[in-house]
């Protein structure tokens, strides 16, 4: 990636079919310390622009091969070349032509014969504009790179595959917003006991910071679940408490927190013990259509040291389905700005659920219809579990 130098001499390209004009300009410009290259017509100019970077082009209008208008048209259709600033070289009686060139994207013009002071001033002004544009382009590229790093971290910390347990179905999806957030889901066997830990979380704010904390939360939850999730009476609330106090004390200065739904499922019995730290309540759809919400039993995790999180349990019977999600679902906006909303999500669970994958597709389909062409402002995360039956 090329840097942007404020002190390097300006790189100029002088395009004129008249040799005497070219030589005069080159002599004057080199005296001022510019690095000057010449081209004898429009075609020659395009070839030189393609071969090496230039800051400012001084472009004659009437030339054989390709004239000034045609060069401007080619530049307009070629974004990498369009970065070069263009000053038209015109005769005094060419006002209409100059106007046409400005409309085609030229920045400025000079009339022949050239006044030395004016020539210098116009070139310096175009150079300043070019350097500003280069800085902006450099900044945009580094931001884009940062977003890419965030997305890579996020993707790396999602489970490669979901558990496969006879009699149970798991399905999950995470759609990253353009500006990466800190959502994640997880589903993994805690140990040889056969229990499965489930998580859906949303780390506050966005960007690489959120992605790094997402990796930290996910890792800490995995470690605590592997140590305690297989005990006779797993206590996910105690696990959230551990993670909470670690983040709030060790990383207190960052003021980061995450809303976390965390659960331990015992597949043979269908017992699900969960703790909800400030997260959107997952929806439990019973086989008969009744809807229950697994409400928060504590604040967002990592906010304040000493917070407590209560564990609660539900029994998943054959045909029951659980849908955990992040607020990127309910706060997804349509083109006209309206939110997807809790009610619409709940209404989607009215119809019988065929499988976890079918439920996921149902929600994603309705969400896509709602959002339309509007860009996603937040990550969208979904985790569906269903006990077959």
């Amino acid at each position: 990636m090329a840097g942007v130098s404020e002190t390097a001499p300006g790189r100029l390209l002088v395009v004129d079919d008249n040799e005497a004009n070219r030589d005069l300009l080159v002599r004057r410009l080199e005296k001022h310390g510019y690095v000057v290259t010449t081209a004898i017509n429009g075609r020659d100019a395009l070839e030189r622009l393609a071969a090496a970077p230039f800051d400012v082009m001084l472009l004659d209008i009437m030339m054989p091969e390709l004239n000034g208008y045609q060069v401007l048209e080619r530049l307009r259709d070629d974004p990498p070349l369009a970065a070069v600033r263009v000053i038209m070289l015109s005769a005094l009686d060419e006002v209409d032509s100059v106007v046409r060139c400005l409309e085609l994207g030229a920045d400025d013009y000079l009339t022949k014969p050239f006044n030395a002071t004016l020539l210098r001033a116009r070139i310096e002004s175009s150079l300043a504009r070019k350097r500003l544009r280069d800085r902006e382009a450099l900044h945009a590229r580094s931001l884009e790179r940062e977003l890419e790093i965030g997305r890579e971290i996020q993707a790396e910390f999602l489970p490669a595959r979901l558990p496969e347990i006879p009699g149970w179905q798991f399905a999950a999806a995470l759609r990253s917003a353009r500006q990466v957030g800190g959502d994640f889901y997880d589903a993994f066997a805690v140990d040889a006991s056969g229990r499965v830990a489930l998580a859906v979380a949303d780390v506050c704010d966005k960007g690489v910071g959120a992605a790094l904390f997402m990796a930290l939360y996910r890792t800490m939850l995995r470690v605590t679940a592997s140590r305690n999730g297989g005990s006779a009476q797993p206590d996910p609330g105690a696990m959230l408490h551990l993670v909470n106090d670690y983040i709030a004390t060790v990383h207190g200065r960052s003021n980061m927190f995450a809303t976390v739904f965390f659960a331990i499922l015992d597949p043979p019995t269908g017992a699900l013990v969960f703790a909800n730290g400030g997260h959107e309540p997952p929806l439990l759809r019973r086989a008969d259509g009744a809807l229950e919400r697994l409400l928060p039993g504590g604040p967002a995790v990592g906010m304040i040291a000493g917070a407590s999180f209560s564990s609660a349990s539900v029994q998943l019977a054959p045909g029951d389905a659980l849908l955990a999600y992040s607020d990127g679902v309910t706060e997804a906006r349509s083109d006209d700005g309206s939110l997807f909303g809790d009610d619409r999500l709940a209404a989607l669970l009215a119809a019988p659920v065929g499988s976890a994958a079918e439920l996921l597709a149902r929600v994603e389909g309705e969400l896509a219809r709602h959002v339309g062409a509007a860009p996603a402002s937040d990550d969208v995360t979904l985790l569906a579990i269903r006990r077959a039956g």
């Binding site: 500006q179 949303d202 506050c204 704010d205 966005k206 960007g207 207190g252 003021n255 980061m256 927190f257 809303t259 730290g277 400030g278 997260h279 959107e280 928060p296 504590g298 604040p299 967002a300 906010m303 304040i304 917070a307 402002s377 937040d378």
Partner: protein, 112 residues
């Protein structure tokens, strides 16, 4: 988002008008920490004109309530709209931040 700052005795009222999201939250953070940095640690966040906050806004509030308290003051909220209150309640912010129906009551709660 727009931020308006007004002094009420030794309490500073920071009013937010509009939505707080990842782009505008740093502006709120800066406005609050500027006050705390100047020793004005009794703060009221007037959210009566705020129709939405993302978690980035909550993060800004969390940092400021911690900093103001460690300076011997507090950050209290006023006039929180229903849907913003729902977000505060769900994430447990209502258990750490005091919230009042309007600015007058929030200012008065500091005891003059």
């Amino acid at each position: 988002m727009e931020i308006n700052i007004a002094q009420r005795g030794d309490v500073v009222v920071v009013a937010v008008v509009g939505s707080i999201d990842a782009t505008s939250a740093p502006q709120l953070s800066t406005a609050l920490s500027d006050q705390i940095g100047q020793g004005r640690v009794r703060l009221v966040g007037d959210l009566s004109g705020c129709d939405y906050t993302s978690s980035a806004g909550l993060r800004a509030l969390l940092g400021s309530v911690k900093d103001s308290r460690s300076g011997g003051g507090d950050l209290r909220l006023a006039g929180v709209q229903k849907n913003v209150f729902k977000v505060l309640e769900m994430s447990g912010f209502t258990s750490i931040l005091k919230s009042f129906p309007d600015v007058d009551q929030a200012v008065a709660s500091f005891g003059g």
